[in-house]
């Protein structure tokens, strides 16, 4: 059986880097992987989604609805959206507690989303929810590394371990950028 990781957030949150690290980590771990980012107008504050599919019997890079074993959200509304459409019964949701209010909320047409709404919906789907936030983080673009650290700490993707995540990061970053991202990652793998 394969393992599907569905990542979601808002354009500008660094989901591209996170998905690329997970893809390469899975590859380093020796799995057959397929992935795709869907980002029509991502840079303009729209929804960004990334699919990662691990396993030998995977063909399309797109995860079918309701088939995500792990949903990773970088933003609360998008995490909730993914919970509704993508999450498998009894699977796991990990999201960063950031809020980029969608337009209808800012226009006063929709209510802001509260944590309890997500928790209720998760209960209904028997989804385990992990909410992370690093109050010490000074650069919001590294929220993805907080997430990555937690994925490793909680061993959320079977068969992928810290060494694989580190190799993947080294494939993609160098110098100060690697040091900084590595620092955030390390703090979160143990915290």
């Amino acid at each position: 059986m394969g393992f599907n990781v569905y990542m979601c957030g808002v354009g500008g949150q660094g989901i591209g880097m996170l998905s690329e690290v997970l893809l390469r980590a899975a590859d380093h771990a020796g799995f057959r992987v397929k992935a795709v980012d869907t980002h029509g107008l991502a840079q303009r504050g729209g929804v960004v989604v990334s699919h990662l599919r691990i396993g030998d019997d995977v063909f399309s890079p797109l995860i079918p609805e309701g088939q995500a074993d792990l949903v990773i959200g970088l933003e609360i509304h998008e995490a909730f959206r993914a919970l509704q459409y993508m999450q498998k019964l009894g699977s796991t949701l990990l999201f960063y507690h950031a809020c980029w209010q969608p337009l209808p909320v800012r226009l006063g047409q929709d209510q802001p989303l509260g944590l309890e709404t997500i928790e209720d919906a998760a209960r209904e789907k028997r989804v385990r929810v992990f909410i992370v936030r690093d109050p010490k983080l000074t650069d919001s673009r590294m929220q993805n590394m907080v997430i990555l650290g937690q994925i490793d700490r909680l061993q959320m993707i079977p068969g992928i371990s810290k060494a694989h995540y580190l190799s993947a990061m080294e494939d993609l970053m160098e110098g100060g950028m690697l040091t900084e991202n590595r620092g955030v990652f390390d703090q979160n793998t143990t915290a």
Binding site: V10, G12, L23, R24, D27, R32, V33, K34, D37, T38, G40, L41, Q43, R44, G45, G46, V47, F59, S60, P61, L62, P64, E65, G66, Q67, H77, F80, R81, Q84, Y85, M86, Q87, K88, A98, C99, W100, Q101, P102, L103, P104, V105, R106, L107, G108, Q109, D110, Q111, P112, L113, T117, A121, K125, P135, K136, T138, S140, D171, M173, E174, L178
Partner: protein, 636 residues
């Protein structure tokens, strides 16, 4: 860190995780492609990013972003006439722009060979339609290869390039959005660089290259004969794949990404149909298809967008008198949207209900109804975007009855609330023509057209000239941000740089003046009151008037600024004691950095605010404090 540029020109065979667009560039390198051209458009910009990762001095081919897809096609064609293997790539609707040239290509003897790479967009992820470009390919007698994965992108480009060169003809590689962006490990062959032969081999004797009147017929005959020769090769070539599930009853004939979707959709089928996956989709391999039809009693053509394979397959069955039941598109929805695994499964379940047995008829678990629905998240202008200030200011100069016509680009997003500016949209450069038509027989409703700068250079000029030529009384607002922002900040003729080196920037003002535009106003859009005033003035003129509303793309500007040493983050703040909860910032200026809290207060989303301060002037209560430096210790 792995270097993409180094990898793309590595001489030994290797494998790497790449997206389809990157695999394409490696294939170009290995195939000996010498000239590549493009105009930016999703889903293809990453092709140029991969090309750009190869240092210019090591790049084995010339690349340029041309001013539009038609020019790009012509540059690649011209290079092909000199004997260079060339390639042009662009998005789906780019082929409409290129069409006048494209439809002629197959008539020509392109001695270097030419590959046309299309980024089609089923699902209209980032396009104004989801047109099926196989229609245009058929109209122009150009063969089409359709890869389903990055591995096949790499493989089929090389095959297309070889055929194009061997037969001195154009060949299409038709990619779709999620083939362009799919990532997987691809195994690449060795690359043997060959020295560039710069000899200009153009010779009219290789032609004729003049398609006029009856001279067209022999050229057309040759185009058709070449197409037939490709069809003849296809029967024995390795351009299609039969997947044997030992099923003599059911077969699925498919191509491209829908092949992978079907393979996924069949995972839970009680009995899997055999599959025939076509790499060459036009012309289709006749013998292979006929044999597939003969050996299965029921064949389903799973095909995204329009029934082109289906029609060809039905024709073969009829001509060869094959007794087979062919299933294809039946309901309107079959023509619409991307063929994802979910969609293919729904189609199969509908048409072949026995395929999944009874157990899978139940409602899938994800359909659990959960309330409330999540608020929609339409794309929007970035924090600090000059277009936001422009729309906010322009809106104050407009009357409710005025008509605004948008064009393609970031400014298109002005149609969304709270601005609602740009009430009609068509395609690149269409705004001034549409606005001119709207202005006929009437003067009580002002008509305002919008154009971005890259679009103005791309296809905007003929419409502007027509306004002058026919004396239409409209106002044009040029939303100038100095770059091709929506597709990832590619330089254009007004940027002062092309893909390869600095160049003289074309001034839009000079261009318009040279064309004879008499009333030109310009301002930076952050000068909101000035802009409102200029638009009012322009609208009062009973002739063609232009307002250049200028501000650099702040996404690009901030990315560059962040990289500089000593960069300090800035942001605005709200003085809660002054805020009267008028929500001008949140709901009318509409910067996403302002949040409306459940208790009615307004808060700054500190991750988003870039401290540009364009909002400060919008608060009637004066509650937004000027941008201040964010202390480095402070958490985001």
């Amino acid at each position: 860190m792995k270097s993409m540029g180094e990898m793309l020109i590595r001489e030994v065979a290797f494998s790497e995780i790449v997206m389809g667009n990157t695999a394409l560039v490696r294939a170009m390198v290995e195939a000996g492609t010498r000239v590549v051209t493009s105009y930016p458009g999703s889903p293809t910009p990453e092709v140029a990013e991969a090309i750009g990762s190869i240092p210019p001095e090591k790049r084995p081919f010339y690349f340029e972003f041309s001013t539009n897809e038609k020019v790009a096609t012509e540059v690649a064609y011209g290079a092909g006439l000199n004997g260079h293997l060339s390639t042009v790539f662009f998005k789906s609707v780019g082929l409409n722009v290129a069409a006048d040239t494209f439809v002629q290509l197959s008539l020509m003897n392109i001695i270097g060979g030419m590959v046309v790479v299309l980024g089609d967009d089923p699902g209209a992820n980032s396009s104004q339609n989801e047109q099926d470009n196989r229609h245009l390919a058929m109209m122009a007698y150009v063969p089409v290869f359709e890869p389903s994965s990055p591995t096949e992108v790499y493989r089929y480009y090389k095959i297309a390039a070889q055929l194009a060169r061997d037969k001195a003809m154009p060949v299409i590689l038709r990619m779709t959005t999620h083939v362009c962006h799919a990532k997987e490990r691809v195994h690449f062959d060795a690359y043997r660089p060959s020295p560039l032969d710069p000899t200009p081999r153009f010779d009219p004797a290789n032609g004729p290259y003049i398609p006029i009147a009856s001279a067209v017929f022999p050229m057309k005959r040759r185009a058709l004969e070449r197409l037939q020769s490709i069809a003849a090769l296809a029967d024995d070539a390795d351009w299609h794949k039969f997947i044997d599930h030992g099923n003599s009853e059911l077969g699925i004939l498919t191509a491209g990404l829908p092949f992978l979707s079907a393979m996924d959709a069949l995972q839970s089928a009680s009995r899997k149909p055999d599959m025939l996956n076509l790499g060459l989709v036009y012309p289709i391999p006749r013998k292979a298809v006929a044999s597939f039809l003969k050996t299965h009693r029921r064949v389903h053509v799973i095909e995204e967008l329009d029934p082109i394979l289906e029609t060809a397959v039905r024709t073969i069955a009829q001509e060869e008198d094959i007794a087979v039941h062919i299933y294809g598109k039946t309901i309107t929805e079959d023509w619409i949207g991307e063929y994802t695994p979910d969609k293919v499964k729904r189609i199969l379940q509908r048409q072949w209900p026995d395929l999944y047995g009874e157990t899978l008829q139940e409602t899938p678990p994800h359909a659990t109804q959960i309330t409330p629905p999540v608020p929609a998240r339409p794309p929007q202008l970035c924090p600090g975007c000059g277009h936001r200030s422009a729309f906010y200011a322009i809106g104050k100069a407009l009357q409710e009855k005025d008509i605004t016509v948008a064009d393609i680009g970031c400014h298109t997003l002005g149609f969304l609330p709270p601005y609602r500016i740009g009430q009609a949209l068509m395609c690149m450069g269409a705004s001034t023509g549409i606005a001119s038509g709207l202005s006929l027989f009437q003067s009580e409703r002002k008509v305002i057209a919008f154009l971005g700068d890259s679009t103005l250079f791309h296809a905007g000029l003929p419409g502007i000239l027509n306004v002058l030529f026919n004396r239409h009384r409209i106002t044009l607002i040029v939303m100038e941000n100095g770059t091709t922002a929506m597709t990832g900040h590619q330089d254009h003729a007004g940027s002062g740089r092309n893909f390869n080196k600095p160049t003289d920037a074309v001034s839009i003002r000079n261009l318009l003046e040279g064309m004879g535009v008499q009333y030109i106003f310009e301002t930076d859009t952050y000068q909101q009151a000035v802009l409102t005033d200029l638009v009012r003035k322009a609208l009062d003129i009973d002739a063609f008037s232009v307002v250049i509303a200028r501000h650099p793309c702040m996404l690009k500007f901030m990315r560059e600024k962040r990289r500089k040493p000593g960069f300090q983050r800035m942001r605005v703040s709200i003085d809660a004691s002054v805020c009267r909860k008028l929500y001008e910032c949140v709901a009318r200026f509409g910067c996403p950095s302002f949040l409306r809290e459940a208790d009615g207060s307004v808060r700054i989303q500190t991750d988003l605010c870039i401290g540009d301060g364009s909002c400060v002037q919008t608060c009637p209560a004066g509650a937004i404090r000027k941008p201040e430096i964010v202390p480095s210790s402070e958490a985001s």
